[in-house]
């Protein structure tokens, strides 16, 4: 089980990301009512993705909320909707309290908080609460990681990610 703790987060291996947007689609479906792609596209409001593939030159990164330890969005949130979860250290957003003032959008250095024009509230990575099942293995715990076909997305500690990187490097040499 790789539920978010202070040390566990989702990393993107930029050398492997091809920008296929599987993470974006999986994220949107995970945050739909039906959790089914065919039904999700017909829902109103349309389910929103919270992860985005962004490119810089030929390189691509799948980027989402970094759940900053000293989170600028939490400090800027004037309604109390954004806060840090004491246990998991995740940055959580309470839809009920959000008034759509976009103070968080204004200060998030990663641009990871999305303005949902339809519901007029902020939308961000919530670490897939509906998949918070202890029986779900590491990669499967998060919709984006589970959907990544190139193994670019990885959930775990930094050390695990680094180890995984060198392992993959080793593999590609052979």
């Amino acid at each position: 089980m790789k539920t978010k703790t202070k040390d566990i987060k989702i990393y993107c291996d930029i050398t492997r990301c091809v920008g296929c947007k599987s993470c974006e689609i999986a994220c949107a479906i995970e945050h739909s009512k039906s959790k089914n792609i065919f039904a999700a596209v017909k829902e109103t409001p349309l389910p929103k993705r919270r992860v985005e593939t962004q490119n810089i030159g030929s390189k691509i990164i799948s980027l989402h909320c970094q759940h900053c330890e000293d989170a600028p969005c939490v400090k800027a949130c004037m309604s109390g909707a954004l806060s840090k979860d004491e246990k998991t250290r995740a940055t959580i957003h309470d839809k009920e309290k959000c008034v759509g003032c976009w103070m968080c959008v204004m200060v998030c250095p990663f641009g990871a908080i999305i303005r949902d024009a339809e519901s007029h509230i902020a939308v961000k990575c919530d670490l897939c609460p509906d998949r918070d099942d202890p029986s779900t293995g590491s990669g499967l715990r998060y919709a984006c990681v589970a959907a990544c076909p190139t193994d670019a997305l990885f959930a775990g500690t930094k050390e695990e990610f680094e180890k995984n990187l060198s392992k993959k490097k080793g593999n590609s040499k052979h």
Binding site: I56, E69, M103, V105, G111
Partner: protein, 427 residues
């Protein structure tokens, strides 16, 4: 250690929380002259507009003070500080001794110096009591006048319009938001407001508020009479520095603090709307009377009251508004007055972008419509990054975090937080 905090809002509450997180044994006392605890005053126009109710006003749990073992004096005004005896006197005579004191007394709205401002139904909006009083009479109001076309004035007008009132905003300058945006951007916003029924009178000021005891209208300097049953003055704020100056603590525009948010008295700190701090974009001392600055300063002041010696990087003027679905965000220097600035801008229908640079560093921005890149630009301003290499991309629709990753890599010492480093591990 005995910590005392005057003011129970963004700065005061964050300081109390920070102290408690780091010191379970500290004695913390918080004094506020308001009785409604833990509400965010930024939400008051939302309350007036009816988009939220009072139960949604709080920015912390109801039990915050209890859970954090913070002793409170609510509805009690601090009337003086005795620096020799190290104690704060409250109205009624109670004396609260301190080892370290935080002044987080915030600000009070500016008012107009014209005849009639003391009449009934003339308001400023700062406290829950103001909002409640306005809500109470709202059923008997058809027409309202808002004095001031800055951010606060427009917010007030927007709230009243959502309640279907006929609102006229009286603006001294030739455009709305004159401190924040130029005429082109102001036109986009003003046009939308007018399309949605808010009248805007530019180049005009109220000369007098008419009516017997109760406001019945305003008279403009052009001699025009506007009937209304409610007048709201929405013009910015003055810091509540009286306590500090009476105790001979150094005050200029606001309470003067050093990089540790310490005042001229080594045991007294100041944070929030009352404190005059370093402004990152302007490279000068300034009050940025903003919620995020108050929270940040409360956190830093709390840490330094604990003796942790954390310096404050400085504040940045910024704001975000959304009127009828049109978002606008501005930050830093948006209308440079002197030479030496470079401006890149682009205007489209219902969309405006402007970036202000000085020596290849971004010092300000205005985004209207498409505001998605605001946060990424904000960190470039904050960290004073040389953006020569990406200047051509700044106004792009897809100007996102990835575009600054080469800079994050190049200026590692400025993007020190682990979160940045995590993103470039494989880049």
């Amino acid at each position: 250690m005995n910590y005392v905090i005057i003011g129970g809002s963004a700065a005061g509450v964050t300081a109390a929380e920070t102290i408690r997180k780091n010191d379970k044994k500290a004695v913390i006392t918080l004094i506020s002259d308001e009785t409604f605890p833990l509400y965010s005053r930024c939400l008051l126009t939302y309350l007036i507009a009816g988009s939220i109710d009072e139960s949604k006003l709080c920015f912390r749990d109801k039990d915050f003070y209890k859970e954090n073992n913070i002793k409170t004096y609510l509805g009690k005004k601090a009337v003086s500080i005795d620096r020799k005896k190290k104690s704060v006197s409250l109205e009624g005579g109670t004396k609260v001794p301190y080892d370290k004191l935080l002044i987080a007394t915030g600000a009070t709205p500016k008012t107009e110096n014209i005849p009639g401002v003391n009449k009934k139904r003339v308001f400023t909006i700062r406290r829950i009591d103001d909002a409640r009083a306005i809500i109470k009479i709202l059923d008997n109001v058809n027409k309202a006048a808002v004095l001031g076309g800055g951010l606060i004035g427009l917010r007030d007008a927007y709230a009243l319009r959502q309640k279907n009132k006929e609102v006229t905003v009286v603006v001294k300058s030739q455009q709305v938001l004159s401190q924040m945006v130029d005429a082109d951007a102001a036109r986009i916003i003003a046009t939308l407001l007018e399309k949605n029924g808010i009248k805007i009178m530019t180049g005009a000021a109220a000369k007098e508020i008419l009516g017997k005891d109760t406001a019945e209208g305003i008279l403009t300097d052009g001699g025009k009479r506007l009937d209304c049953q409610l007048v709201i003055i929405g013009k910015g704020v003055n810091p509540n520095t009286q306590l500090a100056s009476a105790a001979a603590i150094k005050v200029e525009e606001g309470i003067v603090v050093d990089e540790f948010l310490k005042t001229s008295d080594k045991d007294i700190f100041a944070a929030g709307d009352v404190a005059q701090t370093y402004d990152v974009a302007r490279d000068a001392k300034r009050i940025n009377a903003l919620w995020p600055s108050a929270v940040e300063q409360g956190q830093i002041a709390g840490l330094n009251m604990l003796g942790k010696n954390v310096s404050y990087e400085g504040s940045l003027s910024m704001n975000s508004v959304d009127f009828f679905g049109l978002a606008s965000i501005s930050m830093g220097v948006t209308k440079p007055k002197e030479e030496g600035y470079e401006i890149i801008s682009r205007i489209r229908k219902n969309e405006y972008k402007k970036i202000v640079l000085k020596e290849n560093r971004i010092v300000g921005m205005v985004l209207v419509g498409d505001v998605g890149s605001a946060g990424v630009i904000s960190i470039l301003i904050r960290n004073k990054i040389d953006v020569s290499s990406i200047k051509g991309k700044l106004l792009d629709e897809r100007f996102d975090y990835a575009k600054i990753m080469p800079l994050v890599k190049k200026f590692k010492d400025k993007f020190r937080q682990e979160e940045y480093q995590d993103t470039i591990m494989t880049f």
